[in-house]
Symmetry: C2
Subunit: 219 residues, 2 copies
């Protein structure tokens, strides 16, 4: 029982700091996206393609969250955008406090869009508000169409689902219609994008939507 109490306290404390982050993002007129998925669903590739497409019209910053290594920050830094790596040292999700510290190292007023790439984990990050405008869950076609039913919390907490790696559909047993229908059964309000970072399919729609959100000064 004491564990449950502690967990609730951890979440309450996290939510309080998340609200502080949200206030800062709002003051800076910044659209902030918390990108979540299983390991290897393609979050970093999606970030790379998004920066390539948008960097001339949207000022983008990135926070990379990983259990270990700064490999993802290295990948993203090549595109010339400001990036901060958070290493959780075994931690299975980002917390608002870590983001609070990371944004000290970013000039928020000079950005329109902040992408926070969470630790690859389809379970734990669902519970932790970071102060974002919305969670975006990326699901790869290779993971199978049953995943929204098996990991519902993440799809319930997200506002957007990106079905990625659509180029692999001919080679895997994944029914995209079933996947989307399963996701919508958990959360009917989800906005859906279908993308391939290899062929580029779906990326223009995705990027146009982000540019629009970032232009709104959403937070």
């Amino acid at each position: 029982m004491s564990v449950i109490t502690i967990e609730r306290k951890v979440l309450e404390k996290n939510d309080a700091i998340a609200e502080q982050n949200r206030d800062r993002f709002r003051a800076a007129g910044l659209f902030v996206m918390n990108l979540v998925s299983s390991p290897g669903a393609g979050k970093t590739s999606l970030v790379e393609r998004t920066i390539e497409a948008l960097r001339d019209r949207v000022r983008i910053g990135v926070i990379e969250g990983d259990v270990q290594t700064d490999l993802d920050a290295q990948r993203v830094a090549r595109y010339g955008v400001p990036v901060v790596q958070i290493v959780t040292n075994g931690g299975c999700h980002l917390e608002a406090r870590l983001v609070h510290d990371a944004i000290e190292r970013l000039a928020l007023d000079g950005l329109d869009l902040l992408i926070i790439e969470n630790v690859g984990n389809l379970v734990c990050p669902a519970n932790f508000d970071l102060g974002e405008a919305m969670k975006v869950v990326v699901i790869s076609t290779t993971e199978g169409d049953d995943k929204p039913l098996k990991y519902p919390a993440m799809f319930r907490e997200a506002s957007v689902v990106v079905v990625n790696k659509s180029d692999l559909l001919p080679y895997v047993s994944c029914d995209v219609q079933a996947l989307v229908s399963n996701a919508l059964s958990v959360n009917p309000a989800l906005r859906v994008f279908e993308t391939s970072c290899t062929t580029g399919l779906g990326l223009p729609d995705w990027c146009d939507w982000i540019a629009q959100e970032a232009g709104r000064g959403h937070a």
Copy 2:
């Protein structure tokens, strides 16, 4: 600080129950494997192919762990082996207590091999001993070759790594040699299998190894 203390107590309590489970497995002469991976790496397909190949010579039982649904237990039950579904209701990993309760519903003395399929999560299950003889980590080629470096705890805790979905290699940017080399840099003692549950590649070696381990009465 109090949270860290609680966490250590949770792990200590878990380990004590895991030892009880291990004693029971040993008494029953049972080889027990804790199968871990990201969501959608192919654990359930690997279990299905393994049962198909071995059911005439190895008596197999399965415990399925999922955040929600009994979809995996339904899949496995079709093969006529005893299966118990654990639903964690949001929990991000199996704990020894849950397995302790689940094995009450299995006739362990009538089994040679018990496969415990953990929740799809490459982070949290690494910390929780269930009483198994070994952890087997499944990694899909679609997840990318950097994952052992980014999620090292799981590869450190495992005794075996199965590189699955090798049939997709022509279509994804994954260097299997780099993947294996990254895994071995984290844990040089790892035994490595490369499999495809679609083409069957590598499954005979994998199954022969399991049959051998199960024949030893390992626990």
